[in-house]
């Protein structure tokens, strides 16, 4: 049943043309524009592309939260959730079936964006195993947060506003737009608490310094991101009944 939900959900995601814009076209445009702007200015700091490509990859991965909220609210408000509750599917497999396709989407998105950086700008992917683990952990983290947001959202518009705060706020505080070291001390102090900061730091270590999984910067970030994702998914499962009840009322 989880696989059937997974296959259906993945099919619906791929049918949504706006996803290609938000998840692939827009980040590539951002990467091209900012790489062009900063390529000269960054000569003294090393590699601008090494900041911009992983930075924007991390930032745009969080936009998946909109899709997650959209899909859950669609099923709740259309009565689909009530109907599915009359079948043999139970809440946890249902959540898994809705969750996993979005992780797959993020893996594809990050592969395309990092691959674009490699192909167009010659960006080193460094330690591939570390990069894959970081991206996977970040995908679980971002989608897990998306699940919680879906369970708490009353409307898609409200959720979009929150996603923008999480995405852009996290980007500024986590040093996705500018090198973290160039941020004011106060911002850096707050930025330490963002998953974006940990993800970018680990990605840069793996890509630019060939850091392996045993490197503290990598495993600590992977562990933290996994834990945030797992905790968020757990919270979402606990909130599911309350969320679904809105679909059950007439």
């Amino acid at each position: 049943m989880v696989f059937s939900l997974f296959a259906k959900e993945l099919r619906l995601i791929f049918q949504d043309k706006s996803m290609y814009f938000w998840m692939l076209a827009l980040p590539i445009v951002f990467i091209v524009i900012f790489s062009t702007i900063f390529s000269g200015a960054d000569a003294e700091n090393g590699n601008a592309v090494g900041q911009i490509v992983p930075g924007y990859t991390v930032m745009f991965m969080f936009f998946i939260m909109i899709s997650i909220v959209q899909h859950f609210l669609r099923d709740r408000d259309s009565g689909m959730l009530a109907r599915l509750s009359s079948t043999s599917i139970r809440p946890v497999p249902f959540m898994l079936g809705m969750w996993l396709p979005h992780i797959v989407v993020l893996l594809i998105q990050s592969a395309v964006l990092l691959g674009f950086g490699r192909a167009v700008y010659g960006l080193s992917l460094g330690n591939i195993a570390s990069v894959i683990m970081i991206v996977l952990a970040l995908a679980i983290c971002a989608t897990g947060l998306g699940l919680v947001l879906a369970m708490l959202s009353r409307s898609l518009n409200a959720a979009i506003a929150i996603v923008q705060i999480v995405t852009f706020g996290g980007a500024v505080l986590g040093g996705l737009w500018f090198p973290f070291s160039s941020l004011p001390e106060g911002v850096q102090a707050v930025g330490q608490f963002t998953p974006q900061r940990w993800a970018l730091q680990a990605l840069q270590a793996a890509m630019l310094e060939q850091a392996g999984l045993q490197a503290a910067e990598v495993w600590q970030a992977v562990l933290l991101l996994f834990m945030i994702g797992a905790a968020a998914a757990g919270a979402a499962i606990l909130l599911y009944r309350r969320f679904a009840e809105k679909s059950f009322r007439t």
Partner: protein
């Protein structure tokens, strides 16, 4: 009579405080079609969701084929096919993909699932359009696929919540035929609607609900007999009216004549014709009025709007 479904003193209150179902009891015979009637907010959909196991009941017991549904847990979905009021299909998927998805949710697999999809598509008359996206379907076609999705796993009980809302007469007739086919196959049908003629046409028994309570139940003829007496309509030239003739009947002016309601139409006719023959008035019209389900429904639930 073998009972397929039985509700005993069922209560359900939503968290917002609304008592949606308030001590409802009724029994549905196996292989029969049972109609649930009631104005908006009467509790019909809540009862259907309770039976389908979507929401838990607060008090009372629901028994399906002699087993309390509280004890059936995950297996309840195997015995019940629930068709919600809303069209719950994925519009960007085609009919086959939708049915395949629902079939999997009911635990069907492989060749059996393929065969069931082909069969239900044929039953709802959409085999030719199986590979078209549901979004391109008419309202009636969507309603039919909505029903087909609940038949895939060969349920013993099919719960249909207003399945004919907003569709053309052809699709409606097709759905009626589908329901008759279910009954022939021994499937029990619980049917909720606002259309009285559908209940008159399809259902063996019915219950009228209001404010979460059953206010009338039984076979159609019983319900009509219990809650509506006989009525006679009369039009007479230059007549003061029949009020003084019928002390025990209800008389009211209607159209160009009078409607006289009492316990016996024969008695009314007898007294009326006797009096008119004696007075020599010219009778323009004299009709026996059969009670209708709609007249009973309005009498029991009132004419006030229920928005």
């Amino acid at each position: 009579m073998k009972v397929a479904l039985q509700l005993d003193n069922v209560f359900k209150q939503y968290k917002a405080g609304k008592q949606a179902v308030n001590g409802v009891s009724f029994r549905v015979a196996e292989g029969s079609c049972f109609g649930l009637l009631g104005p908006n907010g009467a509790g019909k959909s809540t009862i259907m969701k309770l039976i389908a196991g979507i929401i838990p009941l607060d008090q009372g017991e629901i028994t399906l084929l002699e087993r309390p549904i509280a004890q059936m847990r995950g297996r309840l979905g195997q015995s019940v096919g629930y068709v919600p009021q809303e069209i719950t299909l994925y519009e960007s998927l085609n009919a086959w993909q939708n049915l395949h998805f629902f079939g999997k949710m009911y635990g069907l697999r492989g060749k059996h699932l393929q065969e069931r999809i082909a069969l239900v598509l044929e039953q709802v008359g959409l085999s030719e359009r199986a590979r078209d996206k549901v979004g391109s379907y008419s309202g009636g076609m969507k309603r039919r696929i909505n029903i087909a999705a609940a038949l895939l796993h060969e349920p013993k009980l099919v719960v249909l919540d207003e399945p004919t809302v907003g569709i053309d007469p052809q699709s409606r007739n097709h759905i009626f035929e589908l329901i008759r086919g279910m009954q022939k196959a021994g499937i029990t049908v619980l049917y909720s609607t606002h259309y009285m003629e559908e209940v008159e046409l399809l259902c063996d028994e019915l219950a009228i609900l209001d404010h979460g309570r059953v206010i009338a139940a039984g076979e159609l003829r019983e319900v009509l007999g219990q809650h509506m007496g006989s009525a006679v309509y009369v039009e007479v030239d230059n007549w003061q009216g029949p009020e003084q003739l019928f002390a025990n009947a209800k008389v009211r002016a209607e159209g160009n004549g009078w409607l006289i309601e009492g316990s016996s139409a024969l008695q009314i006719m007898h007294e009326l014709t006797g009096a008119l023959l004696q007075s020599g008035h010219q009778v323009r019209a004299l009709e026996l009025q059969q009670p209708t389900l709609e007249s009973v429904f309005i009498k029991l639930t009132g004419a006030a709007l229920r928005d």
